[in-house]
């Protein structure tokens, strides 16, 4: 589904990704962990197509397409979803209106008819239930005055609505208490199936108690320096990141 080869990227003069290699197959959950400043969020941003980052080398294949050649909106329409670490506020635009615009543009891209009001509402109710979100929140201006938990839950609701092939969750656990974390993780788990994949970007292991990864990768200084199973995450939790840094230094 997603095949990243030797991805190198910079922002301004600062090189942040130094040759990333990663393979993600349908049905898999990958966790990307690493100390602060290791390039986790940059990887998420580069994949989503943020303009500030300049790709210097490497290839990314997404469902048979050259991802890096696609405009950000086309990446989204092809099925790539990014749950933002800091979702932005858009005053005067409700989540409902926002999702309607997004969904219809995605459908149009796929050559499908836009949803009429009734079908949209039906779909929305269904997804609201799935991620346990209240309609009153969806009627409000997008993310304006939302608590941290509400913002993250709203991101997962959007993910449910757009049914992406690949979802990247960027530090979705940051700023969440344990109850909110469970609800968000629960939502993600319900959305998992054999044909989609999730990449969880996180600093801490605790989210991975609820969204159980098939693979864990450790990112350090813009490179994946270690890969393993979920046990690796537990080891990181127990020992911190220093031993990884030491290993890299020795190598």
């Amino acid at each position: 589904m997603l095949s990243i080869k030797n991805l190198t990227a910079k922002i301004g003069d600062k090189q942040i990704l130094n040759g990333i290699n990663l393979e993600v197959k349908p049905g898999e959950v990958h966790a990307i962990m690493g100390p602060n400043g290791s390039g986790k969020s940059t990887l998420a941003s580069v994949l989503a197509g943020r303009e500030e980052y300049e790709v210097m080398a490497g290839e990314v294949d997404f469902l048979g397409k050259d991802l890096l050649a696609l405009a950000p909106e086309d990446r989204a329409r092809e099925g790539l979803f990014l749950a933002f670490q800091y979702p932005v506020e858009i005053p005067g635009v409700s989540t409902i209106n926002f999702m309607k615009t997004a969904l219809n543009q995605i459908l149009e891209h796929r050559g499908q008819q836009p949803l009429d009001a009734v079908s949209f509402l039906k779909l929305m109710k269904e997804k609201m239930k799935l991620v346990e979100i209240d309609q009153s929140l969806l009627n409000r201006s997008l993310n304006e005055g939302f608590s941290g938990g509400e913002k993250k839950r709203n991101e997962i609701f959007q993910m449910a609505m757009l049914e992406p092939k690949l979802a990247i969750l960027d530090e979705t656990d940051s700023g969440l208490d344990i109850d909110a974390l469970k609800i968000v993780a629960n939502g993600v788990n319900k959305l998992r199936n054999k044909s989609n994949a999730v990449v969880v970007v996180t600093h801490y292991q605790r989210l991975l108690d609820y969204i159980v990864p098939d693979y864990v990768h450790v990112l350090y200084k813009g490179k994946i320096v270690k890969s393993g199973t979920k046990d690796l995450a537990l080891e990181l939790e127990a020992k911190g990141y220093d031993w990884i840094k030491d290993e890299v230094a020795i190598a």
Binding site: A48, G49, R50, E51, A71, P72, E73, R75, A76, R77, F81, L82, F84, P87, V88, E89, I90, P91, G92, V93, N97, F98, M99, T101, A102, L103, Q105, I106, H109, S141, Q158, L162
Partner: protein, 481 residues
């Protein structure tokens, strides 16, 4: 960033949709302005003596007045002798019914999406169509007449209801109120007139559509709306003009007179030609709009969506004379390329317990300059007056300007006044968030801008709100740099 520039380039080069002209024979006055031109206009319109005198007096006062220099706009001096002050599409006589209207004219309005023919009339909206200096057709007149509502062209009102015109014309905007109002009073050619009798709630939206067609012609129309005790009316105004390289002058006057318990809602979607992307051409829009809440508990509400014109100079105002009367002003003013807008409102509180509310949303893009200028004046007698003002500015790109000039005068210490102001920029983060959900950049800007202007757009009648949303998007598409 180069991609943004490219989008900007593509979209700002998008042509003004209503820029075409029609080829119709016109009957015009020679260029220039003097007493004999005014007599010519008055004769053409077969006006009574008192109206000619009124015009001449306005003209004499105008010659002694000076063009205002205080607005935050710049333009080369206007040569008032180089303009044509009367231009009318040639018609045998004012059409008695729509079948007699020149098919070319009907086609003109159809092209603008306004149907004057019986079969295709806009349901629920009565339209007075004004082209250049004269009204060409008014729809639904008979239906309205059954309720005692008078809705017709200004010229017709002068002939058919001279007592009403004489009584109310100039009662809200005096002849010598300002330079452009005086000019209008001297040379106005047509416009709309509306009278809603006591206790009548007008069952449909009344609408005037203005179109400038002829070259080198100024458009000077007057609208007068009188709402008798307990009456209600919602009034819409729309306008477009051809694309011409030279600037054209539009100086209108709108007067609203509301008696006890009357309510008038006046909505404008202003889409005069704004000039090209280099600032060439476009309409100079110098308009005086004012409502008088004469009776107790009356209410006047202005809603405007200003997207057109090279220069806008316009302050729809309310004089709150009656006790418990209320004035509202909701505005979205958009400027792009080299447009300049100096717009806002005046709320003059005279009566007790008077209330006013101002919501102004400015949006500047390109090299444009957008100013809000507003006055809230609480007079001595206005016990317990209240005002709330909110002035927001949204900037797109880094070459435009947004300015706010609020004036507050309070002569009664029981007044309560609130003023809020914000300035923001459309963030790249907001755009990227939309892109990441599959929404393209144009739609993203439209979404964000419409969200920003929502409070004002919500005030518009449904049919207009949809148009206004599209217009906002069209004016601003790709302006994020």
């Amino acid at each position: 960033m180069s991609k943004d520039n490219q989008v900007l380039e593509e979209l700002t080069s998008k042509e003004y949709e209503h820029g075409w002209t029609i080829d119709i024979e016109t009957d015009s006055a020679p260029k220039g302005l003097n007493e004999s031109i005014i007599r010519f206009i008055s004769t053409k319109k077969n006006e009574p003596e008192w109206l000619l005198e009124w015009r001449l007096s306005a003209f004499r006062q105008w010659t002694k007045m000076k063009e205002p220099k205080w607005p935050n706009v710049t333009y080369p001096p206007i040569d008032y002798q180089d303009l044509i002050y009367y231009s009318a599409p040639k018609q045998k006589a004012k059409a008695k019914n729509l079948e007699d209207v020149d098919p070319e004219l009907i086609k003109t309005f159809e092209k603008l999406g306004i149907s004057l023919t019986e079969q295709k009339r806009l349901t629920g909206i009565a339209v007075d169509a004004v082209i250049d200096s004269v009204s060409v057709a008014t729809t639904y007149k008979e239906t309205l007449a059954e309720l005692g509502i008078i809705f017709c062209s200004f010229s017709e009102a002068v002939q058919e209801h001279p007592e009403l015109v004489k009584k109310y014309m100039g009662s809200v905007v005096p002849v010598n109120d300002n330079y452009f109002a005086a000019l209008n009073s001297a040379v106005f050619t047509d416009g709309s007139f509306c009278y809603i009798p006591k206790g009548v709630r007008c069952p449909m939206e009344l609408s005037t559509y203005f179109r400038i067609n002829a070259a080198n012609t100024g458009q000077f129309e007057r609208t007068l709306i009188v709402a008798d005790e307990g009456a209600y009316v919602s009034y819409l105004e729309g306008c477009t003009a051809p694309m011409r390289d030279e600037n054209q002058l539009h100086a209108a006057v709108v007067e609203i007179y509301a008696m006890k318990d009357a309510q008038v809602k006046y909505s404008t979607v202003q889409n005069w030609y704004p000039g090209d992307k280099n600032g060439k051409g476009g309409i100079y829009n110098f308009v005086t709009k004012r409502g008088l809440c004469f009776g107790d508990s009356s209410k006047i509400s202005w809603t405007q969506v200003e997207t057109g014109s090279a220069i806008t100079w316009k302050y729809p105002s309310c004089i709150l004379k009656g006790d418990n009367s209320m004035g509202e002003f909701y505005s979205v003013a958009v400027t792009n390329n080299y447009q300049q807008a100096d717009t806002g409102t005046k709320m003059i509180h005279i009566g007790k317990n008077t209330k006013s509310r101002i919501v102004s949303k400015g949006i500047s893009a390109g090299h444009s300059q957008n100013s809000y200028r507003g006055q809230v004046h609480i007079m001595k007698r206005a016990e317990n007056a209240r005002n709330f003002s909110q002035c927001d500015s949204l900037l797109m790109g880094d070459k435009c300007g947004a300015h706010t000039f609020p004036y507050i005068d309070v002569e009664n210490n029981t007044a309560r006044i609130e003023h809020e102001a914000t300035t923001s920029k459309i963030g790249e983060d907001q755009i990227f968030y939309c892109l990441q959900r599959g929404i393209d950049e144009e739609s993203a800007v439209a979404l964000i801008v419409n969200g920003y202007a929502k409070e004002v757009l919500n005030q518009l009648p449904m049919e207009f709100a949809v148009e206004a949303q599209k217009l906002l998007a069209l004016t601003l598409e790709g302006s994020v740099g």
